[in-house]
Symmetry: C2
Subunit: 160 residues, 2 copies
């Protein structure tokens, strides 16, 4: 298991993971219809850096890191993590989140913020809490879940 | 006093307001060095709509409205408001915020969120509270104020 920076060539193997997760509409604030081109921009081009977690040459997960707010907010970064369906429950999100905190510090960031964690995504909420993220905000009915309707979204934050 | 949709021709008169506020670095999450071209994109091109408040042909303030999060978050909008220094204290922010809530409903939004209100911007915090916005999050030391250092930023939210 190895985490390395992603190249544009990796996108063919990132896209199936992205598409599966985003088209479900249960966790990420991207349109369920996000196209492959849009995903390339969102996940690989717009962020500061993108990483993949690889086992035997297979990409099992990926994350990005970017500045969350410009100017007076630019010391706080934002990350997003995705794990392929067949690789869940093996601690890959933990590995990537810990890795991302080290990368964040190397890049000079002082804190990390998750802006929009669906409260129904209980596994993620529990994991981020375990990794030191505090729920600093609750956005009432801000997440339109495909089966559960309007549910709260959480803002989670960690000073690094 | 009239609020109307902005055109690109208005930008020459919006820019001095934007530049004065953003270069001070005390309230908005834009780089203090934001250029005129970047400002045009941020304030007029990227948002769904931009408005100006005009008195006797003079632009005294401006606001934008845009979708805050895509996909499952796209029923929540975000706005930003700016009033020129010489027109402050006359209730223009109130007029624009009330106007923006009507526009938001016309555009089909169900809620409005301010993502990053500097806690030191006490006048704004008080005004948004008076207009029905609830502080739903506090981001610890997320705002790097030019004279006060790292201060909290607030997330404020209103279901429309």
């Amino acid at each position: 298991m190895k985490i390395r920076e992603a190249t544009e060539n990796d996108f063919e193997n990132i896209w199936p993971i992205f598409h599966e997760i985003v088209s479900a509409g249960e966790t990420y604030a991207y349109s369920q219809d996000t196209t492959k081109d849009q995903a390339l921009n969102i996940w690989l081009k717009a962020p500061s850096k993108t990483f993949v977690i690889v086992d035997n040459g297979n990409i099992l997960g990926t994350y990005y890191i970017k500045t969350n707010q410009a100017g007076p907010g630019s010391h706080v970064c934002n990350c997003g993590y995705m794990v392929s369906a067949q690789a869940r429950g093996k601690g890959l999100a933990t590995l990537m989140c810990e890795h991302s905190q080290e990368v964040a510090k190397e890049l000079g960031y002082k804190a990390m913020q998750f802006n929009f964690v669906a409260s129904t995504n209980e596994g993620a909420v529990r994991l981020w809490a375990k990794l030191g993220f505090e729920t600093v905000g609750t956005l009432p009915k801000a997440f339109n879940h495909p089966s559960k309707g309007y549910v709260n979204a959480l803002v989670m934050y960690k000073w690094l």
